[in-house]
Symmetry: C2
Subunit: 258 residues, 2 copies
DNA sequence: CGACATTTTGAACCTGTTCAAAAACAGTGG
DNA sequence: CCACTGTTTTTGAACAGGTTCAAAATGTCG
């Protein structure tokens, strides 16, 4: 369904063949997502070098994997358009969504540790990513200190983000988890210029549930309850944040106050 | 109680005054934990430069903080002896233990992202850490590629470790969480040469519970049940792994099979 | 030894799960 | 454009695992 028009326009058929940098023609310095991917306050000279970071692009169709658990790690990916989920899965049927990533965010950092990816990255809608060869990244980082710092910061933030998820999974009740989830999505949408209070969920209730440590029925029921209480409105994948303050209070006032 | 004799011996009173490298006298190249902290397969020349990494050491007494949420980030710490917990906490009383760290492991990576620490690191017993100034680390990493790679690997592994915790918190039952927790501790003890099946828990039931997303009573009850079933024996903080295979099966055979 | 913290255990309770069925929706092909 | 099939979502009712509150037992440290 909802097809990212950028992705659709840039190529029609050859989903799996990465486009080279030359073919694509556009550089990071032109990208309107650059303040999300690249360090701030860099000189024009540094800018020119950083343009060499992205070697190619790749389109990933809805439902397809950008990479899978066990795949050799060669590159990190910056999302140009679309949405992904990452998930870990075990031999037995267990799996856990570890995050949802949107444009301007990086995927693939998990692979550095062992040289092969530790999770799956699946496109939730037709998407396009910039391919950043890790070998190239390390070369450039050694020469451009600001890039090195920036990359460290990104990894560190991912660690801190996961701390937040652990807090959520370890200490919040279903209502609070959903509130935190929705507020987080809203904040990230707003950081991308979508200032409205509307969120279009790109993932199913089951995927939300996996991420939040809840069953899909609980997600559905809890959303309904939040809607009954006038905090949000829900019509299928479209969620409106009606009372942001009260949603926030819900997670800031702690486990009490039901 | 149980005092790490190394820590006790190396100084007696000046807990908070870091010892400089010169005072300490011992370098990474002499440290028996080096294969845990440093990259493998490095040349003697590289070795010499990496010895400059640790600028000083510091003793942290049981219960004291190595750093706290909000503290300025300047250094990463390598644990030389002892055990720490890291925890995030919110304005309301919520807190969540995000990990337990033992000798040879790094703490403080969370601070790189924002320049100030995002969690507390508390010593669970008298401990000693090596102080690695981040500024120095970045300098050296830019010059010594193998160090840069190694550092990236460490951060990436931390991300992957947290994925595992998310899986645990999001999809496992109490018994499985405890089994996974104990097996993880055992494996890390064994990697440090403690080949016995005995584990001395350095943390309280409440801290275990916080880490595993359970109440302390549930931790206690679940340990008792595992003991009744003959999988482990529990005497206070001393846990013996009696049937490692069955413990492992418990988490590998998935949510079925109660 | 005595004060305090930690751990164990019990019983009632509650939140979220499970199983089940209906409703809403999306994509396909006539 | 509409009927048809399969997927996603909602809602209900019974159930279960973990929590809560409480008290006793065990350990720890000065």
């Amino acid at each position: 369904m909802t097809i990212s028009s950028t992705a659709k326009a840039s190529l029609t058929d050859l989903s799996d063949v990465p486009l080279t940098f030359a073919q694509v023609g556009a550089a990071c310095s032109q990208c309107n997502l650059r303040e999300l991917c690249l360090p701030g306050g860099i000189t024009p000279e540094e800018f020119a070098r950083l343009d060499q970071l992205v070697s190619a692009r790749r389109v990933v169709r809805k439902g397809d994997a950008l990479f899978r658990h066990g795949d050799e790690f060669l590159s990190i990916f910056a999302i140009r358009s679309g949405t992904f989920k990452t998930r870990v899965n075990t031999l037995d049927g267990r799996d856990q969504v570890t995050g949802f990533q949107m444009s301007g965010e990086l995927i693939g950092l998990d692979g550095i540790g062992t040289g092969s990816h530790a999770c799956d990255a699946i496109a939730l809608e037709d998407s396009e990513v910039c391919i950043i060869a890790y070998a190239r990244l390390t070369e450039l980082a050694a020469e451009v200190p600001v890039l090195q710092r920036h990359f460290h910061r990104l990894m560190s933030r991912e660690i801190v983000r996961e701390h937040g998820v652990m807090l959520l999974l370890g200490s919040m009740r279903a209502e609070e988890r959903l509130a935190a989830f929705l507020l987080n999505l809203l904040q990230r949408m707003q950081a991308r210029g979508y200032s409205s209070k509307e969120i279009v969920l790109r993932m199913t209730r089951e995927e939300i549930g996996s991420y939040l440590g809840l069953k899909l029925e609980t997600v559905s029921r809890t959303l309904s309850r939040l809607a009954d209480d006038g905090l949000i409105s829900v019509r299928q994948r479209l969620v409106c944040i009606l009372d942001q303050a009260r949603l926030r209070a819900m997670i800031e006032n702690g486990p009490h106050s039901h």
